[in-house]
């Protein structure tokens, strides 16, 4: 089959690789009809996530048709499914608590050693991400082997377009969980750093959950325009003092909740960020956390801090004093997709959530490297790239 494979920093290629097949009883094989490039794929593209091997198949946002099933799969051949990017067994202690991204049983044991050392515990398997999360071949391919297919994939009724439901695989539940982690109350101001796909879904979710106002922070005019269209107020940090503006826009209180939808590769010409970026370049395993530091400074006393942005290593100059002295609550984590996916499918069916507005480009799988290049380097115009395996290549 054809698949997008990683070969090093800024080097991804569409190669011919082996087809997947059923290994375990609960597996299914999916023929991919739509798959997207995620902002977190750019962390892999930029080579800042450890545990990658040349030839790894990327992609963790995908959907398609079931073409083969193991004896314990509950799917049927021909089912149209969206597959959560988190691989979860459904029966361990963590899955029982709906903490699906903490699943004990989906990350192959040999891959757990590194995360046990790095984070103290291993985390669940993820599709198409680093070997720290299992090294599972991902969805930017013609076919994918999906373990625990009786737990993760959700069957999509015919008549719903791929583009309307594809993002149930990751970014919609991720944005939704980011807002849910804010415990939004009446009158709340929610500030969101980053108007990429997750930030945009967090904005939409926070408004659906009843936030009084959502203030979005970015520097790309087109992304800020998308946020404004959703109903957010916007701050362009290249023009405005963010902390001062947030105080003034929230009656001198500060935002009740803040969302860092930026993660480890923060942009911005701030001294802390320049240092972080240098360390990242020389391979210190350092995260660049300017957005998070600013969010912690901005949030009101006793406020809520939600971090859907991806971090993988260590962050210094972390304003722990602000966290403690202001009595903040922090909630974060890879998304527990399976917890939210059914409810969100219904909200899409009911027309409550718009899931297609951010798609800027649709490309055949063969053109995926061009998609990565532009999603990384032309962020203003390339807001979301959907790949369509099986459509004509170049």
């Amino acid at each position: 089959m054809r698949a997008l494979t990683w070969h090093g920093k800024h080097d991804v290629r569409v190669d011919t690789v082996d087809d997947p097949s059923i290994i375990n009883p609960r597996d299914a094989i999916i023929e991919v009809t739509s798959t997207a490039i995620c902002g977190s794929d750019l962390h892999l593209y930029d080579g800042v996530i450890p545990g990658m091997t040349s030839g790894d198949i990327l992609g963790h946002e995908f959907m398609g048709r079931v073409v083969d099933t193991g004896p314990k799969s509950t799917l049927k051949k021909g089912d149209r499914v969206v597959v959560p990017f988190t691989i979860s067994c459904g029966s361990c202690f963590f899955c029982q608590k709906q903490l699906y991204s903490a699943c004990d049983n989906s990350n192959p044991v040999a891959n757990q050693d590194i995360t046990e050392n790095l984070y103290g515990h291993s985390v669940s398997g993820l599709f198409g991400y680093s070997h720290l999360t299992g090294g599972y071949p991902g969805g930017q391919a013609e076919y994918v082997r999906v373990p625990f297919s009786d737990v993760g994939p959700i069957v999509i009724p015919d008549g719903m377009d791929d583009d309307t439901v594809l993002f149930l695989s990751d970014i919609l539940p991720t944005g939704w969980m980011a807002a849910a982690n804010c415990d939004i109350e009446e009158g709340d101001t929610v500030a969101v750093w980053g108007c990429g796909p997750v930030g945009l879904f967090a904005i939409q979710s926070a408004l659906v959950m009843g936030a009084h106002q959502v203030i979005a922070i970015d520097h790309y005019p087109n992304r800020l325009a998308l946020a404004r269209k959703l109903g957010a107020k916007v701050i362009d940090y290249t023009q405005t003092h963010v902390l001062e503006a947030l105080m003034e826009m929230s009656g001198g209180i500060g935002p009740d909740a803040v969302i860092d939808a930026v993660g480890m590769e923060s942009h911005g010409f701030a001294p802390d960020n320049i240092l972080d970026n240098i360390k990242q370049q020389v391979g210190f395993g350092a995260d660049a956390g300017h957005a998070l530091r600013e969010a912690l400074m901005a949030v009101r006393k006793g406020g809520r801090v939600s971090i859907p942005g991806v971090y993988g290593g260590f962050l210094d100059k972390f304003p722990l004093g602000a966290l403690m002295e202001k009595g903040l609550q922090v909630r974060t984590g890879q998304t527990h997709v399976q917890k939210y996916i059914k409810e969100l499918l219904k909200r899409i069916q009911d027309g409550e959530l718009d899931t297609t507005f951010m798609i800027s480009h649709r490309l055949p799988l063969e053109e995926a490297p061009r998609g990565y290049d532009n999603f990384a380097n032309n962020q203003n115009d390339w807001t979301k790239v959907v790949l369509k395996p099986g459509t004509a290549g170049v």
Partner: protein, 222 residues
């Protein structure tokens, strides 16, 4: 203090100056070694004066007990202890989750284990069950003719809050060829602490999900 002057000005001094430098370094090294020995002894005495804590002995900073290395690991499995005990007690089940156990055969009260060792060699271990409490504990010890001197036990306890069963396995063994053998084995990732940790996780996967996670693309590679 002539040699110090020489050190400052002439790193490539005359022969006898070099001898002085070596002498100074030697004395320094001796003092360092004496200091380290003193410190080690002091901290050992300091530890001996402290009351013990509640942690299992094998988590002590000291990992050797006499000539034996001791390793162990606890895992919580969301299944009743009787089921887990029964699965383990049928030793023919063990190769299903113990990757390095190539085969298990039982004749009378002696069990023969063929275990993959470093560098593609396999090691034969013979054990006898020395204690067997249904649903609670199985303990074994190597026989006289075993290639490796080892003993161990696995315990099954109800986990709190309906979480299932805490399975705790402890193995004591004399590493072949002593400490060196242990380091070499570690290099090959066959060292019992790593094996034990991974095997208990595989047991958990198998019991909780009916399968063992793999990220391989297809069966032939698995």
């Amino acid at each position: 203090m002539d040699h110090l002057e020489d050190l400052r000005h002439s790193p490539y001094g005359r022969g006898d100056d070099n001898a002085n430098v070596w002498l100074a370094l030697g004395v320094g090294a001796l003092l360092g070694a004496a200091g380290l020995a003193w410190y080690t002894q002091q901290s050992r005495r300091e530890r001996a004066r402290r009351p013990g804590d509640s942690a299992p002995g094998r988590t002590a900073r000291q990992s050797r007990f006499g000539r034996y290395a001791v390793t162990g690991r606890t895992v919580t499995i969301a299944k009743p202890k009787d089921e887990l005990y029964a699965f383990w007690r049928d030793f023919s089940n063990l190769p299903k989750f113990m990757e390095n156990v190539l085969s298990v055969t039982t004749a009378g009260d002696v069990t023969r284990w063929e275990i993959a060792g470093p560098a593609g060699r396999s090691v034969h271990v013979e054990t006898r069950v020395i204690e067997d409490r249904a649903g609670e504990q199985i303990a074994w010890r190597a026989t006289e003719s075993s290639q490796i001197d080892t003993e161990g036990k696995v315990m099954f306890r109800d986990a709190p809050g309906g979480r299932g069963t805490e399975v705790e396995a402890i193995v004591a063994y004399r590493p072949p060829a002593g400490e060196l053998g242990r380091w070499i084995a570690k290099l090959f990732q066959r060292e019992p602490a790593i094996q034990g940790r991974r095997e208990l996780k595989r047991l958990k996967m198998l019991m909780e999900t009916g399968e063992i996670a793999t990220s391989e693309l297809h069966k032939s590679a698995a």
